[in-house]
Structures are given as structure tokens and as C-alpha cells.
Amino acid sequence: MATEALGRPVMDGSRRPFMRRALPYLLSLPALLVCIGILIPFGTAVYYSLQRYNLAFPMTRGFIWFENYTLLFTDPGFWNTVRVSLLYTLYTVGFELVLGLAIAMLLQRRSFFNNTMSILLLLPLMIAPAIAALMWKLMTNPGFGILSYFASLLGFPDFKWASASSSALFTVVLIDIWVYTPFMMVLLLAGLRALPRQPFEAAELDGVPQSFVFFRITLPMLTPYIITASLFRMLESIQQFDIIYAMTQGGPGNSLMVFQVAAYLERYQYTNVGRSAAILMVLWAITFLLSNIFIKQWLRLRERARGVA
């Protein structure tokens, strides 16, 4: 037994009380349980994706390894799903970022009006997306919808909104923007208000043009917030389901057949569990890849910021 300077005995590793040794493991146990809770469904999905598993054909269930994936990758419908999902993500994240940033900058100064507006603008975010889609379905009704009326005033009397393939993506992107721009706005507004004031005051004293301030001071300092907000929105957008399903169930034709809708139809209407799981695994891979790109970019910026500091 070693003896401390003050005479108190110090125990070596093997003699420490059990609870003290177990404490780090006990503290991380909740996180481990959460991990297991996530990994079990994930592992099950991987397992199913390697099987011929259609509930309507119970006798044919068995391992086919990567055949579900091979069938997916050779199906033109699947590549349409990839295309539509990525386009949807690109448009929604892009427009929501630009609009959210613009609104956040308008509301940046604290005042009664700005504070009230920032609360009111959050209202769409409090509506369930499926309900929002149903509201928009009514507003775009050609018979009595107010948006159809406005479209006719603008010279588009027969605009079909979600009923035509040519305008369906535009319509659902519009709904997504209406619902989620406030999310982007509130994160960026928090970011803007947290930025240090000194660089802006110095620029003001030097008479630096506003465009220079925006592109060379505001944007670079706000970039970590932009990346974080975009990452959250990207994760949601590429997994979009409720707005599209409530509006068109993936139609007209296959014009809105995104990953989640395709997987849902395969599982719940066509009872093809194996194919549905394979679609979701591809979605996971794409999401993982995109998230990594975002996070690496965010880490790089953080390192750069530390270097500058």
C-alpha cells in the first residue's frame, strides 16, 4: 500500500472500492442504452434489407444478400427517387436559408415590433406539417382556393399546383418553405444577436460599406450557425414525408416519389419489408454522407476560428 504525504492510505487500482471503479461506466450507461435503442432498429433494418421479405409471400422469405439493392439500383424509378429527394433538399434548404437569413437580419435589432414579429413568424412552425399540407391543399383548390385566385390574377388561371407534375415540386417546396423558414430564421437570429459588436462598430467608424460588412464580417462570423441550421434542415428535408404524402402521395406520376414516401408505400401498402428496408438504408447512407460533409466543414471553420483567435 502506498502512503500519501499526509498519511492517508492511497489504494491502487485493484483495491479501489467497486462503486468508484464502476462510476464512469454507470455514468455512461444511459448513453449506452440510448445507443442500443438506436442500434437495434438500425441493425434490424440492415437485416431485413438483405432478405426477400414480403409479408404477402411468407413462404419465400430468406436471405438474398444484396439482391434488394441490385434491384433498386437497376430500377429507373429508384434513380428518379434519388433525383427528386436531392432536388427537394436543395431547393428547400437553399430558399429557407436565404429567406431565414434575410428575415433574421431585418429583426436583428431588439425592439418591441421586432420581438413581436419574431414570435408571430414562428407560428407556421407550430403547425404539424401534414396539417399545413392540408391547409395548402384547400388554398390551392382551383374552385375556391385563395392562392388559385391570386394565380389567376397574375395571369395563370389554370395553374394546377400539386396536380401537375410540372408544378408539383414547386408547390411542396413552397409549403416546406412556409413551415420551416421560421426555424432557420430563429437559429440565425440567435446567431446574429450573439455576434461580438466590436468588429461592426469598428467598421461603422471606418465608414465601411454595408455590403462589405455583410460579406466580409457578418457572413463569415455567422457561418457556424448557418452550417448548423442547414444541417438540421437538410436532415429533415431529405427525409421529407408528411407534406408530400398528404398532398399527393408521391404523384402525379412519380414526380414527388421521395425516399420516405417510397419506403412507406413499400412497407405499408405493398408489404414488401425487404425492399422498404433497402430504400431506407440507401437514404441512411446519403444522409450520413451529407451530414459528414456538413460536420467536417463546421469543424474546419471552428479550427480556423480558433487559429484566428
Binding site: N54, S163, N272
Partner: protein, 478 residues
Amino acid sequence: MYSRIQDLANAVVRRQLDRRNFLRRAGQLGIGASAATYFLNRAQSTALAQDFDWQKHKGTTVKLLLNKHPYADAMIANLDTFKSMTGMEVTYDVFPEDVYFDKVTAELSSGGGNYDAFMTGAYQTWQYGPAGWLVDMNEFINDAALTNPNYNWEDILPNLRASTAWSGVPGAELGGEGAKQWAIPWGFELNSIAYNKRVFDAQGLTPPNNMAELLEVAAKISKDVDGMYGVGVRGSRSWATIHPGFLSGYSNFNERDFTMEDGKLMAAMATPGSKSFHADWVKMIQDSGPRDWATYTWYQVGTDLGAGASGMIYDADILGYFMNGEGNAEAGNLAYHAFAPNPEASAPTPNVWIWSLGMSNFSTQKEAAWLFMQWASGTDHALFGARDMDFVNPVRQSVWDDQAFQDRIAKSYPGYLEQYKASAPGSKIYFTPQPLFFNLTTEWASMLQQMVGNEVPVDEGLDQLAESVNRQLRQAGI
């Protein structure tokens, strides 16, 4: 007074007094219609109970999964009759149709025994049956110890009994050799034309008698009647777009979804006849359908007719029935017309939708569930629903023959019975039963949307569809 009304009710059960006179005489005793109906139901329950041990599962609770539908409403309104007759309890969950079948699929595929019986369509049994989720009802129907001698299974219309029975062999005839009775027919709908008589009379129009006339009349309404389009049909990206008017008309031209070649199913949508029918259908929607047709379910089709937004519909006859009731702008203005789009066809060929009752294979109290199903699909409840509720169309011949029901329909829904009588003989399920029904029929609807949207020419679209369908059939080993 109590014994007098009791005697009168017993007289109805003994068929010594008809229902109309019963209600009249109850009124003379100062008893309202609902109270009189209660006494009548009780007397019928007692009579039924005398022939069969309805109390065998007294104290048991049967759990039901129901779709929000007038058939379910009629059953719930009469549920006390069942409870008092059997001493059983019944609990139920009701879901709107948008999510109902997904809920059923999720429930059954989980293997959970949360529900003993549930509402289903015949097409759904083509998935649920082979998956092992349903009980073959023949086990119960043919068991004299478990089935009320007054149940009268043969009274249910033969084509409906056959349409809910299948052997599980893809392409095999419904109700044919080795067929299992996957569900009990409960209520059904034919497809015919329901039209706005007020508008037709004002425009000097008569209901169409073939496809060419349908296109012509519909186009005229769209052109001449302000704020109204010609014809309402379903258009959402769903199998439900294909099964009503579309398949009824398609079948009338003797076109099929599949043919059997060397024991294998082959897509039959790319024949010249099929292409011709599709071209007419697409033109009809483009010229005279709703502008947002691609999102139309039965709900929009029906409400547009009731609201005066469409001149006619080629869809479920019961939609026209419901829309002629109170609360609709065009209530009382709707009329019905049996429709055979093929000029050479001798009669209409409506594809039918059958709301049925299925029993979960995971139920732990199947005999109790069967007691409930017998009652719910029995003659007495069907008569109650048809006379006093909107349990239309009934599946039992004896209900169609019931004078009180006929009088009620003839009075409030003129032309409905005639439409039914002309349509019923040729009505059945015209789809070929196979377990990929939902995949392939949804793809068919998707292709129809692309044709209507001019994204693909009809000929080319049907060739693509047939190729895709055949590929999926081969992949599934069918």
C-alpha cells in the same frame, strides 16, 4: 302500455305485422319511433336467442378495428341490441379511411391480438389471407355448433360471397375450387352514373348510354354550365383510382388486367382495346374532369357532386346516395343511371367494392368474435341498418326484397333501385386476384396520371406499364 308494445313487437318478429304498421300503432300508443325501434330490436334479439346460445361467451369483450363509415355508424347505433342479447361487451377503435388500411396492415403484420375482428375490403384479403393473418371463415360458417341456424349464409348475394373467397393461387377464380372465405361481406357498392337532374333538365341533357355520349355530355356541361365541370372520377396516385368507374368501364369493353399464359400471369393493359379505352378516359378527364383531378379521392368526387361543382360522377352508387341526403347543396336533385359504356355490351359490368368483416388469426377469442360477426352480418341488423340508417347497399337478398327498405329508397332516392337492378347482375370483382394487387394497381394509377398530364402518350405509357408489371410479376415468382 309496455305489454302492448311488447306484443306488437313480437307480432313483427312472427311476421304477423309489418314494420310500417308496427310504427304506426306504436305512435297511436304514444311511443316514438326510436323507442318503438328499441322494443322491436329487443324482441328480435330475444327471438334469435331462443334458437341459439348467444350467451355462450357472456362477459367476454370483443375488440374491433373500424373505418369511419356509415356502415360502422349503423353498427354502433345498434350495438346495444347485440350486448343485451349476448351479455358480451364490444370495444372499438375507429380510424378515418386515409389511414385505416395502413393501421390494419401494421396491426396484423405485428402479429398482435389487439383486435378480434375488423373491417376490410376484398382486395386487402389478397394480401392478408396468404400472409396468414386471416381466419378462413368457412371453419365457422360450416360449423353448425357455432353458427346460428337462422344466419342464412346463402341469403348473402352469391357474387359477393364468391368475391370475398380465394384459394390464394394467383389468377385463380374468386370463389373457385379450394377458395377460402377470407371475409364476410357486410355492405357493398356498384359503380354507375349519378347525375345532377336539375342541371341535366335545364340543359336538355339525358344521361349518357355509352362512352362516346359520356364524353359528349360531360364536355357540354363543362362548356355550358358556369362553375361546373362535366364528370367526376377519382385520380389520386392510388389503386383506388382504378377500381371504381375506370375498371367498370374497362371491363365493359371485355378488357382484362391480366391474362394467364403457360400458367403465368401476363399484363393485359397494352392491347389495342385497352389503349383505345385509356385514350377515351384520358380525353374525358382532360376535357371535362376536375382541374386538380390528380388529387381526387372518392371524397372529393362525392362532395363535388353534392355541392353542385360537377354535373355527374361515374363512381360508387352509394356516393350518389349519400350526396342526395340532407346537408348537401344539391340534396334532392340527384338521380341515378346504370351505365354500360360499350355500345355492344348488353348490360353494365360494375366492378364492386365490398366492405367486409374479417377475423384476425391472432385473436384469442375467435368463437366470441364469430358471434359478433354473425350478428353484424345477420339479417336483423342488416334490416335495421337499411331501414333506419344508411347501411346501403345491403349484401342480403332478403333486405333488397324488404318492402320497407324499398319504399324508403324509392321515396327519397328515386331511380336508385332501378339503377341497382340494372347494374347488379353483371357486378363482381373484375380484377384478377393476386398478391401484388396494390403495387401494380397503384402503378397503373400513376401511369394514368402521367397520361392525363401529357407526360407520356397513351400507347407508350401502356407499353411501359405492361413491361414493368410483367417484370415485377416475374421477380415475385408469379
